[in-house]
């Protein structure tokens, strides 16, 4: 992973392990997520993909009994340092979940504005502009611009998921974490989200967890393969899928297990 001169390093994990109580979920994972790239995390169910992702914005520790060791560096600052406020940190790192989670009591507009408002009040015009920008980035603007004040629940599943992406990018985070964002979508919805990944990496550094190997191959620049909580292999996506260095990786991507 040779970093070119104009690539700022954004996110890095150094020996990260995570536990649920005494049960380890991931062990000693060190990874680089260069700025403005898409990194896919792949691996069989239960290998710790989502847990790793949730360590990156300190969501893991919200589960009772869950702990993290090691360092997660965001611009060389350890996000687990004592003086880092996890609530403020999460405003810098957006996240989209497996299933769409629009806030049911809010309109489309208010859903997108939710993350902005938590940062304090701002002029209405500014919020309007930010909501439109986020919805355009999520490729949802044209479909909802005439009904911004209607319930978000009236949208289709795919639209709801793009709404969640808009909600996540509205506060202009630095990193975008996607946890199997297309798991509950049909092929058309999946394709739209994948196209979005390409467009969004101009603005954000993206980490995407996926079950779907084709998806990883299509959307990512780098791919990391996790197995049983450990990092097996990481590399440029094209190389990892065509010339895997580790036997296990080859077995997984050729469908021999997992």
């Amino acid at each position: 992973m040779a970093a070119s001169a104009n690539t700022r390093l954004r996110l890095e994990t150094v020996g990260v392990s995570a536990l649920f109580g005494r049960t380890p979920a991931i062990r000693d994972i060190s990874l680089l997520f260069p700025a403005h790239t898409v990194t896919a995390i792949i691996g069989p169910s239960g290998c710790g993909k989502s847990t790793l992702l949730r360590c990156l914005n300190r969501m893991h520790e919200l589960t009772a009994g869950a702990t993290v060791t090691g360092q997660v560096l965001l611009d060389d600052v350890d996000i687990y340092a004592n003086d880092v406020n996890p609530v403020e940190l999460r405003r810098r790192i957006g996240m989209v979940f497996q299933r769409p989670t629009p806030f049911p009591t809010m309109s489309i507009y208010d859903n997108v504005a939710a993350g902005l408002r938590v940062n304090g009040r701002r002029p209405r015009a500014e919020t309007d502009a930010a909501v439109e920008r986020a919805l355009r980035q999520a490729a949802l603007w044209d479909e909802v611009k005439d009904r911004l004040l209607t319930s978000a629940l009236a949208l289709s599943g795919g639209q709801q998921q793009r709404l969640c992406i808009a909600r996540a990018v509205a506060p202009e985070p630095e990193i975008l974490l996607l946890d199997e964002p297309t798991a509950s979508l049909d092929p058309a919805g999946t394709q739209r989200i994948e196209e979005l990944c390409h467009a969004l990496k101009r603005h954000y550094t993206i980490v995407i967890v996926t079950h779907n190997l084709q998806q990883a191959a299509r959307v990512s620049d780098y791919t990391a393969f996790l197995y049983m909580g450990g990092l097996v292999e990481v590399g440029l996506t094209g190389e990892l899928f065509t010339k895997p260095q580790v036997e296990q990786t080859e077995a997984y991507i050729t469908g021999r297990f997992g």
Binding site: V87, R91, T101, A114, V118, S151, A152
Partner: protein, 282 residues
């Protein structure tokens, strides 16, 4: 058809018929009560019934305006005291109540829920009436609020727990502080259910008589002073129904019908709110 299959089908029929009969029995109780109230009370209800205060025994005419207004004041005050405490306790139980204190609060709420209302009335009398030497509407409101709080706490907790965990996570991942997640996302989403719980709780205490006998006492005159005895529909029914005059008995039936009507309206509103639950925004 083999013997076994026949038995199964027969059993299925018998059980279905049984639950249908039982369901009708449950509904029948309500129908009989309402029918009886309407039959005996409706004829006494006229404009004066709602606008006039009671007249001295022996005279005809008069109404229960004082009791209707008194019910509104006492129950309203009880709601003012009970709703914030009950809802707050419910939110605490659902969001933070996994520890020992939560267990204790839940246990106390359950015990309080099962405490006979007359006991609550005696407690309110001991602490609010006896020391001041005065029966007051406020003491009645406090007694009703105490009755309401555990009910509200438990329903609020249930409703908040129904909110999917994924919503909470989505808010936290957006950088919502925990308290804001609880209030703006979780409680807001559960609001329909919480409001329903409140209305049911209010309806439940609106018909209470026992705790008011020791506190609000009753008042045959029109009164708006909460530091004085005050009449409610339930107390009025109690007095009229146990009195010796036919005129009073008629009034008791009519007052019971009005009270039942009020409770029914609250219950219907609760149903309507529930249906609006995840309805349109704004």
């Amino acid at each position: 058809m083999s013997g076994g299959t026949f038995r199964r089908h027969l059993m299925s029929r018998v059980m279905t018929a049984l639950v249908v009969v039982l369901a009708f029995t449950a509904v029948l109780a309500l129908v009989l009560i309402l029918g009886n109230l309407i039959a005996k009370g409706a004829s006494s209800i006229d404009w004066a019934f709602f606008t006039k205060s009671p007249v001295p025994a022996g005279e005809s005419g008069g109404g229960v305006a004082n009791a209707i207004v008194g019910t509104a004041i006492i129950v309203g005050l009880a709601a003012l005291i009970g709703l914030p405490v009950g809802i707050g306790a419910g939110l605490y139980l659902a969001e933070y109540g996994s520890g020992r204190l939560g267990f204790l609060v839940r246990f106390v709420a359950d015990v309080l829920n099962g405490t006979p209302s007359i006991v609550i009335g005696i407690v309110a009398w001991t602490f609010l009436v006896k020391p001041t030497g005065r029966f007051t509407a406020l003491a009645g409101s406090v007694a009703l609020a105490i009755l309401m709080i555990p009910m509200l706490a438990r329903t609020t907790e249930e409703m908040v727990r129904l909110v999917p965990h994924s919503l909470r996570e989505a808010a936290l991942a957006l950088g919502y502080p925990r308290w804001r997640t609880s209030l703006k996302i979780v409680a807001r989403t559960a609001l329909g259910g919480i409001v329903t719980g409140c209305l049911v709780g209010i309806a439940r205490v609106a018909g209470e008589t026992a705790p008011l006998l020791f506190t609000a006492l009753g008042n045959l005159n029109f009164s708006l002073a909460v530091n004085q005895p005050m009449q409610t529909l339930s107390l009025q029914i109690y007095v009229y129904a146990t009195g010796p005059f036919d005129e009073w008995h008629r009034m008791a039936w009519a007052a019971a019908l009005v009270l039942m009507g009020l409770v029914l309206i609250l219950a219907l509103t609760a149903r309507w709110v529930t249906r609006q639950r995840y309805g349109s925004v704004r």
